[in-house]
């Protein structure tokens, strides 16, 4: 049986990454390398106000004093930060009046990815901000949203048009000197999305950002800022892909969420960056800082992530539960195959009274991959009646991969109730045979079993994306049982 499964595994893992194409678009790029001049040039090209340049330079000076973190269960080859391009933008990118003005090559790219930019063709009820390399190309449904006072645009535009809002919140959750990769992002970020939901408004559609790395030798540093005022609600989704390349590319993003009184923000990610080939060559380094603050009482932030891509993932979407009665949630599926490595999890920081957090993490490891869950639950002295429940499950496919769980607890208040459950399992041959006996072949059986295993998390995704995520898991895994 084992040899047959190995064969199957080989066949499937030899399957090419579906999104690995490259588009020829004329690019406007800065030369390789990073110094204060480069940062000033980025800021100049983006016609930024003075405060932004200061923000960037402060971050850069912080970054120079920092070192790349080495505490994760990851083997990260040294990165030459001078051998990288920090700004690349499609050349034909004037202010767009209509879809007809979008570079046809670009439109074709997004069509290929199944992300039509034409509003009539867009998935019903989803507004999209499409970002290629460093620049936002098109944001759909802006006018519809503006009627409700919702701002959904690229962060560059927000810096120009709503400087006060940006100045107030940017860096308020992830400060410019937070960590090595966040500092780098703060210094050089070129674009990303900005969302503002005014008081009492329930955003009527899913907001979505689509990130695409295209140019060679570039790093992608996007910055997302979401502000939800009192009694507002928004559900936001990001997706990402990249071409297949032999060298590694760095993606160091920062996402900040601010939720005020009774606001609710749901943030979902389907991460499918190029994972490298089956021998571990190439692939994206996905070093991302995501953090939300439940600033107002009774507010809620919920992170859902489905991580299947990237050569290395280093990512801990976190919630700072500052207001009383606030809720933080983290639902995660992290799948690693071949030589992928993932060290991902969350931090739940309980500061307010009666705060609650929930962590559901499902790791799936196949091939020679290493998959770690790392999570911190911290209850501060004044956080009366804090509650946390953590469920961390690992599923192993084959015996050459690794699954690890690193839970950290810091409890400084006796009224806290914290529960942690962890399981590790393998897909049983008896489960597969049971499916076989009903006419379901082994590949489909594995897909079915894995999708059953991650159901709790997938159910948190908006409908259309849940289906996509299921397919993605199946494609990334089929047959990898040994």
């Amino acid at each position: 049986m084992a040899t047959e499964q190995d064969k199957l595994l080989e066949e499937v893992t030899n399957r090419e990454y579906q999104y690995g194409f490259h588009t020829d678009i004329e690019m406007d790029m800065l030369p390789k390398g990073l110094d204060e001049e480069v940062i000033k040039e980025i800021s100049r090209r983006k016609k930024e106000p003075e405060f932004m340049l200061e923000f960037r330079l402060e971050a850069y000076r912080n970054w120079l004093k920092m070192e790349s973190p080495d505490w994760a269960h990851l083997k990260i080859p040294p990165i030459d930060f001078q051998d990288m391009i920090y700004y690349a933008a499609p050349k034909k990118k004037p202010q767009l009046e209509s879809m007809d003005e979008v570079d046809p090559e670009l439109r074709a790219t997004f069509d290929k990815l199944g992300i039509p930019l034409d509003e009539q063709k867009v998935l019903a009820g989803v507004a999209v901000d499409a970002i290629i390399d460093s620049v936002s190309v098109k944001t759909t449904f802006r006018e519809t949203l503006a009627e409700k006072g919702i701002i959904f645009c690229s962060i560059s535009e927000a810096i120009q048009e709503y400087p006060d809002l940006v100045k107030k919140h940017l860096g308020s959750v992830v400060p410019p000197g937070d960590n090595f990769f966040a500092a780098l992002n703060s210094a050089v970020f070129s674009d990303g999305s900005f969302v503002f939901i005014p008081k009492g408004v329930r955003c009527p559609m899913e907001l979505s950002s689509y990130f695409r790395i295209n140019a060679m030798n570039t790093g992608q540093f996007e910055r997302t800022l979401i502000v939800a005022e009192d009694d507002s609600y928004v559900s936001y989704l990001e997706g990402c892909t990249a071409p297949m390349r032999d060298e590694n590319q760095l993606h160091a993003a920062v996402v900040e969420i601010v939720a005020l009184d009774r606001a609710e923000v749901k943030y979902s990610t389907v991460q499918n960056w190029y994972p490298g080939d089956k021998n571990g060559k190439g692939g994206i380094f996905n070093f991302v800082t995501k953090r939300g603050i439940c600033k107002g009482d009774y507010s809620k932030i919920s992170w859902t992530q489905v991580e299947t891509g990237s050569a290395i993932t280093w990512k801990y979407p976190s919630c700072v539960l500052m207001g009383d009665h606030t809720v933080g949630e983290f639902y995660s599926v992290a799948l690693t195959n071949n030589y992928q490595q993932a060290d991902t999890g969350t931090k739940m920081i309980h500061l307010g009274k009666n705060t609650r957090s929930l962590i559901v993490s499902k790791g799936i490891s196949a091939g020679f991959s290493q998959n770690s869950y790392r999570g911190l639950v911290k209850v501060s002295k004044r956080a009366e009646n804090a509650r946390n429940f953590s469920q961390c499950d690992s599923l192993l496919l084959g015996d050459k991969c690794g699954a690890h769980t690193f839970p950290y607890l810091e409890i400084n208040n006796n009224s806290a109730k914290v529960e942690h459950e962890a399981t590790t399992s393998k897909i049983g041959e008896d489960q597969i045979f049971y499916c076989n006996q009903r006419g379901i072949d082994t590949e489909n059986a594995v897909g079915l079993i894995v999708n059953g295993y991650v159901k709790e998390v997938i159910n948190q995704l908006p409908m259309e994306f849940a289906v996509e995520a299921q397919k993605l898991l199946q494609i990334s895994l089929e047959g990898s049982v040994g």
Binding site: F433, N436, Q437, G439, L448, G452
Partner: protein, 250 residues
């Protein structure tokens, strides 16, 4: 429908089946009885293609095809069904999704179009009624948290959905209370037609009060040592297996 010729099979080098011969025709119900460890479940496992067992001799023909040459899923798609002695739990996978996947694989194999969602749900309702299964069972994950009786009833429900040509029921009666036993037996009786067949593997005669077999075979030490009509079951019930053992030990 099924022709087994001189079938030998082993697990971990130990021979369990030592020359089975059996022919099952359409429209027939065969009961295979025997003491524990005689090879009854092994026979079911070998016929359905469980790779833990190795066939070292013999041949099996299923509707004119070489059964042993087929992958387990193809055997199932060709109409071979096993009601498991110990049905397996698959957490998070709904019965609906599981059955729909299975049924559509069968359709694909036959070159037919998959069922539409509404036709599928209609079929589910219909089959549930036929075998008298609570709708609650099909709303849950495959066998997850089911009681022993629920698992067995669920096997019969799946059999009703997949409408096999040949169904093998491996100790489906064991551990059932009288009500569950009746539901299982009624299901099997209702599904019986002139163009399908059933093999009942059982330790006890009890099930045969509800399902009337055409033939009863006694399996002992990997061979069928006695075959007769349904009266053999009653004889076994009265006398136990000891007389058979005695007869064949010598």
């Amino acid at each position: 429908m099924l022709k087994i010729k001189d079938l030998h099979a082993k697990i971990d080098g130990k021979e369990i089946l030592r020359g089975i011969n059996l022919e099952v025709k359409a429209g027939e119900i065969h009961a295979i009885m025997g003491p524990n460890g005689s090879g009854k479940s092994t026979l079911a496992a070998v016929l359905t293609g469980n790779e833990a067992f190795e066939v070292n001799e013999g041949a099996v023909e299923f509707n004119g095809q070489d059964l042993l040459d087929m992958a387990p899923e193809d055997r199932a798609r060709e109409g071979l069904f096993l009601s498991f002695q110990y049905p397996v739990e698959i957490p998070g996978v709904s019965m609906t999704n599981f059955m729909r996947t299975a049924l559509n694989e069968q359709k694909k194999h036959k070159g037919e179009d998959p069922l539409s969602a509404s036709d599928f749900l209609k079929l589910m309702r219909d089959r549930k009624k036929l075998v008298d299964i609570d709708s609650d069972l099909t709303n849950r994950s495959v066998n997850e948290g089911f009681s022993g009786g629920e698992k067995k009833k669920n096997e019969i429900f799946q059999m009703a959905m997949l409408d096999p040509k040949l169904a093998i029921l491996d100790e489906t009666d064991s551990g059932l209370d009288i009500d569950a036993l009746r539901i299982v037996a009624n299901g099997v009786n209702k599904l019986k037609r002139s163009d399908n067949a059933t093999i009942l593997i059982t330790h006890y005669q009890r099930l045969l009060d509800y399902i009337e077999p055409d033939y009863v075979h006694v399996l002992y030490k990997g061979r069928i040592v006695k075959s007769a009509g349904k009266e053999l079951a009653r004889e076994l019930e009265e006398k136990g297996y000891d007389w058979i053992k005695k007869e064949f030990e010598e």
